[in-house]
Symmetry: C2
Amino acid sequence: MESKGLQPMDSEQLRENAHKMVDFIADYYKSIENFPVLSQVEPGYLRELLPDSAPNQPETLQNVLDDVQAKILPGVTHWQSPSYFAYYPSNSSVAGFLGEMLSAGINMVGFSWITSPAATELEMIVLDWLGKLLKLPEDFLSTGQGGGVIQGTASEAVLVVLLAARDRVLRKLGKNALEKLVVYASDQTHSALQKACQIGGIHPENCKLLKTDSSTNYALSPDLLSKAISDDISTGLVPFFLCATVGTTSSTAVDPLLSLGKIAKNNGIWFHVDAAYAGSACICPEYRCYIDGVEESDSFNMNAHKWFLTNFDCSALWVKWQFLPVENENWGGILLEFEVKVPFSNEASIALHMHDRNALIQSLSTNPEFLKNKASQANMVVDYKDWQIPLGRRFRSLKLWMVLRLYGLENLQCYIRNHINLAKYFEGLVAADSRFEGCKYCLSCQLAHLTWDKPLLGLVVVTPRIFSLVCFRLLPPNNNEDHGNNLNHDLLDAVNSTGKIFISHTVLSGKYILRFAVGAPLTEERHVTAAWKVLQDEASALLGSL
Amino acid sequence: MESKGLQPMDSEQLRENAHKMVDFIADYYKSIENFPVLSQVEPGYLRELLPDSAPNQPETLQNVLDDVQAKILPGVTHWQSPSYFAYYPSNSSVAGFLGEMLSAGINMVGFSWITSPAATELEMIVLDWLGKLLKLPEDFLSTGQGGGVIQGTASEAVLVVLLAARDRVLRKLGKNALEKLVVYASDQTHSALQKACQIGGIHPENCKLLKTDSSTNYALSPDLLSKAISDDISTGLVPFFLCATVGTTSSTAVDPLLSLGKIAKNNGIWFHVDAAYAGSACICPEYRCYIDGVEESDSFNMNAHKWFLTNFDCSALWVKWQFLPVENENWGGILLEFEVKVPFSNEASIALHMHDRNALIQSLSTNPEFLKNKASQANMVVDYKDWQIPLGRRFRSLKLWMVLRLYGLENLQCYIRNHINLAKYFEGLVAADSRFEGCKYCLSCQLAHLTWDKPLLGLVVVTPRIFSLVCFRLLPPNNNEDHGNNLNHDLLDAVNSTGKIFISHTVLSGKYILRFAVGAPLTEERHVTAAWKVLQDEASALLGSL
């Protein structure tokens, strides 16, 4: 044998270089306020700065870091900047970062229990921990025979449960019933649902996005849902999936889980709750009410990588244990006893029932020879490959575990409350400037947050702030609504072009609305104050030029 | 406003703690040979070691690291151990690790170009670099209007192109043609294909896994494929997708791309090439021949996270530019001019043609209001959200860029060749022990690697070693094949239970075969020698006890 050449995993090289990288990253955070929040480069900027092909000979880390500084960072939109208020946050934290480091350090691929038992078991345990902080019902926890799994994104979470629900009903009705299957959600639901339908072969016209408006603060009306379901059943369609949202992407609308869940249950529909953004707030007792009714759902999702200090990606999905007597299910002659996996349990009787976790596994499992092993064959373990789209998976529970342990519940609650207070503060600033329209925060509005389905008293002009997102807009001069949308579009462009802040937009009832989402881990009151100054200045300039 | 409480992203806290983590990880690699390669814990071990719920108050990093050492690492299967020879490798490297650190440090979410232009543009550039190292045809590169994208896994890669192909044909034939669509592959194809079919609603009986055997070294026979396609067309089915593999998971079989590709082209079938494992070897001129014929394919995939030193996950997928005159496509009246995205190009004529990259985008794009922005609306940029299942995505190109730059092509070629040499060395050890059956390496066998479709001369007993995987088995005493499979199953169990090495298995033509996959970044000749000693010792013990 010849010389060994490259030593790509030498521990002392790792130590030396990784210490350098730590300092580079720490220095980045020290100077993060010096960068434009939204990158101001032009399309194609990078190709001109980099060679056409990979080098033949190695370069030094310093070379690469110099290029990161000079060529990459100018093209980065700084999601961790304290002046980032766009979309929703995507939190980094010291704990989350350490978890990512450790996960990348161990670099194992945990598709089956045996390929790293700790990865599977820590994920089950940590999602039980998080489920308990959210006060999810026992039947969502792995100790209650439901269980959690970390998906990459909420898109993948809704996709896997949609597929489980689809296959559950197709096993009853036959594959050719696919064209009859109907999905329900509000028109405020994240586009991920439509994409999931498209992937799963649901006919686009059967993905029914029911209309919402300001009368329910853009929440889905149970009455509309009931009517849609009856209408569809009467024309021979098969309702099978309902997606409700707690904290929509546009405006943090909260669908009424309890009423919707009862309708779903009465119609044998899989009920999924997407609380990707707002779920984090529900660890605070005063916000837990927004997921009241989750006990009626079959699956629940929140993104720890949004507003919960766990670096991207970490989307927590729980699926519920649910008793469904076998006699109610006609599974085409498949004997369920041979299918159901009941880890860590000896209760044979459980094998006589179906539950949703198992529907997920039935839909997504593969069992090729090269992955067979004793623990899996004996049904003694969870193999998360059967709970997700990909086969391989990273050790993502480490970072969530670190966030929970290095911060603790009380700090995490404080973190959430601080952002909500900052959003309230911003809301007050908007309300005090008569050129703008925001949520005129008042008792009736406050009540409306909790009893959304009562008609509002007309005081909420845009839509209420519930969590840490403020929706607002610049009023068009002379109430000339013809110019309102362009005006706000131009204001968005103007403030983002300053590089001082980054905000985003939505459209509600035809009106172009600006979104100010507080939630970056470095944001303090002074950043909100400064952001408002930028908005006011750019608004003055725009209005002055009209 | 109250006190700010938690400071989760303080740069000096990050610096201090991340330096500690670096040392923890470097020390892990220093001592990695002390751990059992395959974790020896029992199912449920971790729940007994951890509390039932998250703490209210923060804990120290040292607490957590102590727990990692005492409770997590015993449950880890050490994929980076030099004595890991199971499945396929999943390489870590200093460069890959640094890239992961930087990506987690910046922690941005690059779904659209605007959310971090550098992330999208570096990905395009680096996949062009890698495509050039693999000598992919120009029409797979973004400079040639095709382009690469990093998926999480090969499962997602095959899924997205399957969906693109499905929707392309359904747009012609109507949604209800789904039940007629047929997919082809060999029975050696990764189970990810079947899972993709299941997700995409392809009827299971229309996922045709054509039989292979030792006469073609388990490669797919073009004759069988042609016949299957004709038969299916004659019964009214619609062939639409072919997946060939270069380096199957079982035995590194290489499907003959050129012949298969021509059949696919003649039948208007999307041709995908899965070179997840073996693609890495094709950066060496002497192995490039195994992907000859890739020019006939529509999409090509290799996993940089397997054998290319780029930490998991980094699965590179390229889709090809392909001229298809519009008049051959009946797109239900949709004017393509308004659909086709041609980034960084002003050639209006291109808008008159379809290509596969666009089929991908047509299948997976969403365009909700809250994500609209100038650059995307003007079709000036690539938005990778439309090339993948999830919306959010990490800055994964950084680690691949670092691997290419910090090592350079020549070192990477040397790395691959070193592993192949180690596999040859192991092969020689097996051949020298008459109790075992391996590949009796000889000229005819060597030729067979290149001219697989000629009948072999009968000297290959298990299946030839082509790359860094050796398939072998212990011969049953007295040629009593009744015991052969149990014997090898027991040998696998015995060697893995020692904790000294980890290997895996497959079944070929009904025979239980052991797989010895060289490819971990720390593996040296001495580890292969020691592994063989473990195998011989355990074999002696087993044979002695018979």
